[in-house]
């Protein structure tokens, strides 16, 4: 608490410096700039960590030339990106080509606005904060489309369409699995969701049967939503060069990269908020350590998990990916909602836990068995929007 209070009073003091007319703007800037700079810094660190970790997983060193152990690699990368030539394809729409990466970055960063970093430490406190998060996330699809379409490149367009299809498909289980948490917390406001999980590690939602399943579904959907491996088909190098980013270079490419990472951070922060107790310490004794520390710790742990997954899992095929979303994720998340309802109506407790666990486990095993029975391995069927072009 003390840390958050300190920050808030500090901010109030600083705002007083500004002339009265500019205070609202100044206050907003004071809220946003620390968040943006923190995540910018985190981006730099995580790119390095990712490359290092992937290197370890693949039995090589990773970057180790710039600075001791390669720790200045992000700076070198930044300089390289900035000084590269910015190429715009001849027939591309210049304005849209420029606006796409910016739009993507903006949507990714706007999501951070509603994440509570500590007690009362949230940039904008909406009553329907999580709805804002998902609404803004939906706009990212549009940015991806603009990027793909403005590039005037078949691969870019195909890649962006794939990405949109994937993002829309996985948005449904993403939202549904978070609805379970909202039902339990009884609010759409993220600070209240976090408050509902106060009191140490045992009151985190991940320990409930629906929270557990919901968290797993949410993480999988998050992977797909931010196009991380194993769901990185839209930019699969071997198939589509780099998807919607094919025609981008230099600083715009860097912005894409940054947007992708920020989106990932925002999603991880949301996961931590929804399922892992947000900024709460795992043990009440540890409350003296400030909330932002815990949130970032959880966030970084989740990001490391993502990197680990990227290092180990093979990429899915496009049709497998869609089938997984519609045939497995969606029914499971709906089932999870039912379980949550049962849990709430039973009022929690051991009995509710057992019932919920049995329902979810039964649904999981039953459904996956049914799916594995019905889908024997068969050759892939190619299907195009215009099947009979040759006919016309």
């Amino acid at each position: 608490m003390w840390f958050e209070d300190l920050l808030i009073s500090l901010k109030q003091q600083i705002v007083m410096i500004a002339p009265e007319h500019f205070r609202p703007v100044f206050s907003a800037m004071l809220s946003t700039i620390p968040i943006l700079s923190a995540f910018g810094g985190l981006f730099a660190v995580i790119t390095l960590v990712e490359r290092k970790m992937l290197g370890r997983i693949q039995n090589r060193y990773g970057p180790n030339r710039v600075g001791p152990g390669g720790i200045f690699q992000p700076i070198a990368d930044g300089i390289k990106m900035l000084t590269k030539e910015d190429i715009i394809p001849f027939s591309a729409n210049q304005f849209l080509h420029l606006i796409a990466p910016l739009l993507l970055l903006v949507t990714a960063m706007l999501g951070l606005a509603v994440i509570p970093f500590g007690h009362k430490l949230v940039a904008v406190e909406f009553e329907a904060g999580i709805l804002f998060f998902f609404a803004i996330g939906g706009a990212a699809e549009l940015a991806v489309f603009i990027a793909g379409w403005a590039s005037r490149n078949k691969y870019a367009l195909l890649g962006s369409l794939r990405a949109i299809a994937q993002m829309i498909s996985y948005e449904i289980p993403l939202v549904l699995s978070s609805v379970a948490v909202l039902m339990a917390a009884g609010s759409l406001s993220l600070p209240e969701v976090v408050e509902a999980q106060a009191g140490g590690i045992q009151s985190w939602y991940i320990w409930t049967p629906w929270g557990f399943l919901g968290c797993i579904l949410f993480l999988i959907a998050t992977l797909a939503e931010v196009n991380r491996s194993p769901f990185d088909i839209p930019e699969a190098e071997s198939e589509l060069i780099a998807g919607h980013m094919t025609e981008y270079s230099g600083f715009k490419y860097a912005i894409f990269f940054l947007a992708e990472f920020v989106a990932m951070f925002a999603m991880c922060a949301l996961t931590a908020t929804l399922f892992l107790g947000g900024f709460h310490a795992p043990l009440p004794i540890l409350d003296f350590i400030p909330g932002p520390f815990w949130l970032f710790a959880k966030l970084i742990l989740l990001v490391l998990l993502f990197i680990w997954i990227r290092g180990t899992m093979p990429r899915l095929r496009a049709d497998q990916l869609m089938e997984f979303a519609w045939k497995f994720m969606l029914p499971m998340s709906v089932m999870n909602l039912v379980t949550t309802g049962v849990w709430i109506s039973l009022g929690g407790g051991v009995f509710a836990w057992v019932v919920g666990a049995v329902m979810n486990a039964g649904a999981y095993f039953g459904w996956s068995r049914l799916l594995s029975q019905s889908s024997r391995v068969k050759p892939r069927v190619y299907r195009y929007a215009e099947e009979t072009k040759a006919n016309v």
């Binding site: 009553e127 709805l131 699809e141 549009l142 603009i146």
Partner: protein, 182 residues
């Protein structure tokens, strides 16, 4: 009328007009998206956050993407075929639109309903919305759920490739248009 609203309204209207006028269909849809966003901003202006975010989520996140997909699946993105551009037709259409607007505006200005000032602070509460959805409006809600299910299935069925009737894969589609002499 405050400045923010004026800007929002201008952008919304301008992009709506652009959406209905531009030749490149993809540009049309992008402008449409801006319009939808503008409308959502208007909702926020009217302190209806929940509805505003729902608007963004549904229209910007889903409907416009849907429209884009439909455009691309129907060879959209091409320039509009203007082989029979008919200025008279356009003039009549525009005239009708303007007339309608004029009549509506007159009605708005003449009505006494619009004079009342807003209550100072009106906040929307998600809880109240939810409660009224499940109490007063539970029947419409259920009907809507049914409608959405039917729409989902119907849309999937409609957009499915037409079923092959004959065994030969090339004889399944009726020829493009009836005979040209008609």
């Amino acid at each position: 009328m405050n400045l923010v609203f004026a800007i929002i309204a201008l952008i919304t209207l301008a992009s709506a007009i652009a959406a209905m006028c531009l030749r490149n269909l993809v540009h049309c849809v992008l402008c449409l998206t801006v319009t939808f966003t503008g409308i959502a901003m208007t909702y926020l202006q009217l302190s209806a956050q929940f509805v505003g975010f729902s608007q963004i989520m549904v229209y910007v996140g889903a409907v416009s993407v849907l429209v884009i997909f439909a455009l691309l699946m129907t060879r959209g993105g091409n320039e509009l075929n203007l082989r029979d551009w008919n200025p008279r037709h356009w003039l009549i259409g525009l005239g009708t639109g303007l007339l309608t607007f004029g009549v509506m505006a007159t009605g708005i200005f003449k009505s006494s309903l619009t004079r009342s000032a807003a209550p100072d602070s009106k906040t929307e509460s998600v809880k109240t919305i939810g409660e009224s959805l499940l109490n007063e409006y539970v029947l419409p809600l259920e009907a809507l759920a049914l409608l959405l299910t039917v729409a989902l299935i119907g849309a999937a069925l409609l957009a499915m490739p037409e079923r092959k009737t004959a065994s030969s894969p090339h004889s399944d589609r009726p020829q493009t248009k009836g005979d040209p002499t008609n």
